[in-house]
Each structure stands twice: as C-alpha cells, then as structure tokens.
Amino acid sequence: MLKTFKIGGVHPCDNKLSRGASIEILPLPAKVVIPAAQHIGAPATITVQKGDRVKVGDIIATASGFVSANVHASVSGVVQAVDMQKDAMGIARQSVTIAVEGDEWNETIDRSNDLITECNLSPKEIIDKIAAAGIVGMGGATFPTQVKLSVPPGKKAEFLIINGVECEPYLTADHRVMLEKAPQVLVGIRILCKALGVNHAFIGIENNKQDAIEHLTKEAASYPGITVVPLKVKYPQGGEKQLIDAIVGRQVPSGALPIDVGAVVQNIGTALAVYEAVQKNKPLFERVVTVTGKDLATPKNLLVRIGTPISSLLEYCGGIPDSTGKIINGGPMMGRSLCYPEAPVTKGTSGVLCMNEQESLRETDTPCIRCAKCVSVCPMGLEPYLINVMSRKKMFAELEEHKPTDCIECGSCSFTCPAHIPLLDRIRVAKSEVMKIIRSRK
C-alpha cells in the first residue's frame, strides 16, 4: 500500500498536458518588471535608481527584516523606472523596470554545466548564501528559505522532506526538473540537510510520476540518506502538513509549525535553486514555469527570467487562445486568477493556466443538501458546511472553536460541493474575521 495522508482529500482530473515537454529556455523579453515583494514577509528595499546599469544576478533590492528576501536583476540592461507597477492581482507594488540590453551576467556566477557535488561550507555559511541569493519557497507559498532553515532554539530538525508531489492539476514544472536536473536537485538536498544538521531526507513523489520516481530512485542510490517515497495520488498532498503526515505519519498540531514535529519541508524547485546558489553562486532570478491550458496550442515547460510578462510566455506557446475566459497564476485548485496578462512572472509562479470561458464560470449555487461531502474531503478535519452557515450569519465569535484558522485553503470543499456552494470563499471571510478576534485579544 502506498503512503498518503490520513484525513480527507479529493481526486481532480490531473490534466498534465505538458508532462512530456522538456524544459525550454524562453527568449529574453524587451523589458522586465521585478516587484520588490515576491515573498511572504516585508518587501525588500530597492537599492537601484533610474538610469543604473545592471548585470544579470546583480542585487537590486535587499531584504528588509528577518522574514524578507533579496531580489536580483534577472536581465542585463538599464533601469528604466523604479515605481509602482500592478502585480498579477492588479495591486500596485514597488517594482524595478529594466530595459533589456544583451545578456551580461555578473562575473561571480559559474555558468558552466559542471556538476559540483562537494560542499565544504558550514551550516551558517550555507544559510547565509541562500539568504544572499534571495531564495524563497518555489512551490507557490514563497516563504523565505533561510528563515525555514534557521531552526529556533530549543527545537530540533530530525529530517528534511522534499516536496516533489506537484498535486495541482496541469502543473509539471517540478516533474520536469526531477527528470532533467536530478543530480543538481540531489546535491541541493544534501546541502539543505547539512544546513539543518539532519542525516535523512525523504523525497515525496506521487505515483502518477512513475518516471520521476524511477529516475530519482536510481540517481539517489549514490547519495546516502536520501530516500524517494512514492505516494498515492491524492490532492492536497503537496500541502506541507499533509505531506509530513503522508511520509512520516506525524501530524502537526493546530497552530504549530512543521519543526514542532521535527520536520522541515522544501520544494523540488527550491532544492535546485539552493544548488545553484551555493555551488554556482547564482541568485534566484529565473525559474521553471508550466504554461498550459486545454485550448493552448503547445503547452510547455519554460525556464523564465523573473519579471517577464506572463503574456510573453503565452505568446511563445502559441498565443492566448480566443476562447480564454480566465488566466490562472499557479494551478487550478489554489492558483490566483490574473487581472491582466502582462503581469510579471515572480519567484512563486509555478504555472500559467488558460481556462476557456466555459470552464471559467461558476455554476449558480443551490440549497445545501447536507451530504457531508465537504466534511469528508476536508484534509484538516473541519466542517466547511457549518463554517459556511455561521460565516454567512456573521457568528464570528462562535466560529473560533470550529477552527477556520486551520484551513489551508486547498479548495477541496468547494471543488466537491454538489450544490456548488462557494464554501472556501466564506471560510476565507471567517478565517480573517476570526484572526481579527484572536489578534484583538493579544
């Protein structure tokens, strides 16, 4: 029996259209817009001015606090503007616009393809290097990686878990990285282990990526301490808490962090970025993005510089289909719909998905038939139907004991509701209202 998480879960159709498409390098755009806030935490402080000349990999914004991350130039050229630019959500944010001239990289970056397996740095040096490179969680949560690696005093990491699950339908970026960059990923994992002072790393991969499981298992044989764990396909297995439960059978208590059960979880893409930062001195300025959609001419996996307009990615894959109703930044379960297609690719952009108009519209909701499907699919063991009703009635004080704050917003409840009730929308309202109540008590 394959391992999986114990509570709830759903099986959306996986639609991995770009599964077989090798990673291609997207040609450089004419200009890039790089936001200062591409991570959870404080926005970075911009250190360049209009007219400055930058090379690829030059720092252009520095972390402004413990939970923050550096930002680097992803292209070479001249800074055209430092101003407010709309991000993917349509919200104006401090950004640096660079007009592209050539492709001149910072000299400290090792651009060779040689695999460097040896790493003689101390854990502190590794973490500093990761922080300098501006690495954040690349699965989409974009939590600064150096913060996750700095284990708080009194707590101890026992093992590293690498998230190769990619449970979102359509997305294949991590899958391709596992197939094409396995040695780099494995060295990255070993570096992460060293930084944490742990001897064991588990790579969780769902069983629908048989080729990646076989390939990584074979490659990992020469890296003692790294084990590939095949997992039963079930969404949301890529959720941090679900993945820890699936692989080591420990459940992170409500309000606690993975480190409280001895686990640190990192994404496949992050492991690759760590390899490049520590061994090749290359900051995080490009990433693999899946560009996909049922009506898109050629779904692909592209290596893209941060700040590239999403529209150029779509253009490269055959153009935005006429049927498009919605463009999603990320996967269809947890991704965010774009307000305009020119929004820039950021460190957390794992995919771009075009949905046709028919798929884009929600059905009208009908009365709740109390089928309890939302309760049985909730991976956190919550009662979405109840939170929905109480949220609608604004019973926020009474809602606290029903733990809407535990919700990971995976969307399984809304996905599965036969009455098409927007359960997650109302849980989000409940969540933020209950958070306000909790904060006001402190």
């Binding site: 509570i7 759903v10 959306p12 349509g90 808490k241 059978g249 420990r250 459940q251 992170v252 208590p253 409500s254 409280d260 935005i320 498009t324 109703g325 919605k326 999603i328 269809p332 379960m333 947890m334 991704g335 719909s337 774009l338 307000c339 949905m355 108009e357 798929e359 884009s360 929600r362 059905e363 009908t366 009365p367 709740c368 038939i369 109390r370 089928c371 309890a372 499907k373 309760v375 049985s376 909730c378 063991g381 919550l382 009662e383 139907y385 109840l386 535990d406 917003e409 969307g411 399984s412 809304s414 996905f415 599965t416 036969p418 009455a419 098409h420 927007p422 997650l424 929308d425 989000r428």
Partner: protein, 326 residues
Amino acid sequence: MDKKLIVSPSPHIHSNTSTSKLMSDVIIALLPAFVVSIFFFGFNSLIVTAVSVLSCMLFEWLISKYLLKKKPSLTDYSAALTGLLLAFNLPPTLPLWIVVIGALVAIGIGKMSFGGLGCNPFNPALVGRVFLLISFPTQMTSFASTKAVDALSGATPLAFLKEAVKSGKPLSELMGYFSYGDLLMGDKSGSLGEIGAAALLLGFVYLLIRKVITWHIPVYILGTMFVFSGLLWLIDPETYLNPLFQILTGGAILGAVYMATDYVTSPMNYRGMLIYGVGIGIITILIRVWGAYPEGISFAILIMNAVVPLINKYTRPRRFGMVKAK
C-alpha cells in the same frame, strides 16, 4: 487581448457532481429492485410507483410555485426520488388515492413545510409512509402474495412469524416455509420495493462505486441488527429469529441503504454516523422483538432522524493534528 478576464477566488475547477446527478444516481441504483418488484407483483407495482412519483413531483411544483412563491426545482430530481422511495415502502396493491395522500404528506408536511430541499429534519418518504401506516393500517398491511408463499395468505415473513411465535409455535417448525434463496431474490410478500434483497445490494454497490454514499451508515445499521439479533438468537433460537433472516426481511436493506442514508436527515461526520447507525439497528430490533410492529425500521430511522441535530452538535470530525505527536 481586448476582452476582459474573469477573476475569481480559487478553486477554479469543480468535481462536476451536482445535486441532480447524485439524486439520479440513487434513482438508477433503485432500478434493479424495481425490476424485481415488477417481476413478482406485475403491473400493480408500476402503477403505484408512477402515481407516487408523479404526485410527489406535482405537489412539489404546486407548493413551491403557489405557497412558497419560489422557483420550483423539479430538475434536482429530489421530489422524484422521494416519490420512488415512498412507493417502495407501500404495498403494491394499495388503492391509488391513498398513494396520492401519502405523496402529499411526504412532500407537503415532510419536506416543504420545513422550507424545502435541505431543510427537513425527517426523511420525507418515511413521513409519508408512517402517516399512511397509522391512518390506513388495514390497507397498509395487506400484502399481495408472490407465488411461492400462498400458504402465508399475504402476511410478510416477519408479520407471519411474529404472530406464530406469539401463539407458541417453535420457530424451527416454521422456518421451513422460507428459503434464503427466495428471500434474497425477492420471492416473498412485502412492500413494493423491499423484497429484492440481492437487487437492493446491487444498487448499494453502484452507490459506493459512484461515491454517492459511503459504506458507514448501511454497515453500522445492518451490522448492529445482525449482532443484536444474533445475541438474542444464541440465547433462544426457538423464540428469536436468526440474524441473517432479520436483515434479509422487513425492509432492512431498503431502509439501511436508501432511507437512512438520506443526506439531509443523516449526520454530517463519521463519528455521528456510528451513533446514528447503531441507534437505528438497536431500535429496529427492539421494535421487531418487543414492539407492536413486525418491521420497525421506518420508525427507527425517524426516531434517529430526530436525534441527528444533537448528534451533529456533539460530534466533531477527526481533526488534523489531534493525534498525539510520536
């Protein structure tokens, strides 16, 4: 691109289930048992069912349109399903005007008076059935015989045995009238849709495959009935029926799989389902062994329906992270 993009919060895809798909799946699951019914009871079965389904739909339409003044939603098939389940709980020879009254009570009192779909505390079909059972006891307990059990003059197996045991006959002499093959295939007298145990179980498998219901409630009910009646049977096999006989007769499977699992009136989490299922199982056997009615599962379900709000209040699903960290 000139046209505007649609923007909405996640998730952006849906499982494609809908209330009408779930309801029609239950209707499909009931079809094998309906075929068995037509095979043994003939045309009567068809007529009673048609009248029941059509009058339930008509009453739903009339009440929503003219009394509640809201858009009638016959397209969710819930009224049709109520009609079908009501018919399955009626004797196939019941006068049609009684069937219509049953449909009115089921939809009017059982469902719409509480606000319609999703709001009713009791299973509407059972409200209709029990109303008829109390109002028209003679008609509701005269059953047509299938060919093999003429000797029993139309009493259901459980009713026949209950009377016989009361008059002091030992069970071992009476059991010869019945064969398990007949009970399984439906060759016995009883309500219209209850007789084909095997066909009903086939529908159960379909519902499980289609993920319309989970195994919990039916298994808890039938398991409890089996264990409870089994204990009694071990104590005195001459007075108490054997457990297999208990679950193959008296609408136990129809009730456990199709009536007790009604979404609206059953608990919202697995722990609640355990309490609910065990409760129905125990009450059914209590009624059958010591109560006035030979069958009893309708009453058991309605009694436990009444407790469901309390069960939902005091049971919580298993929360993530509540297990002790190792």
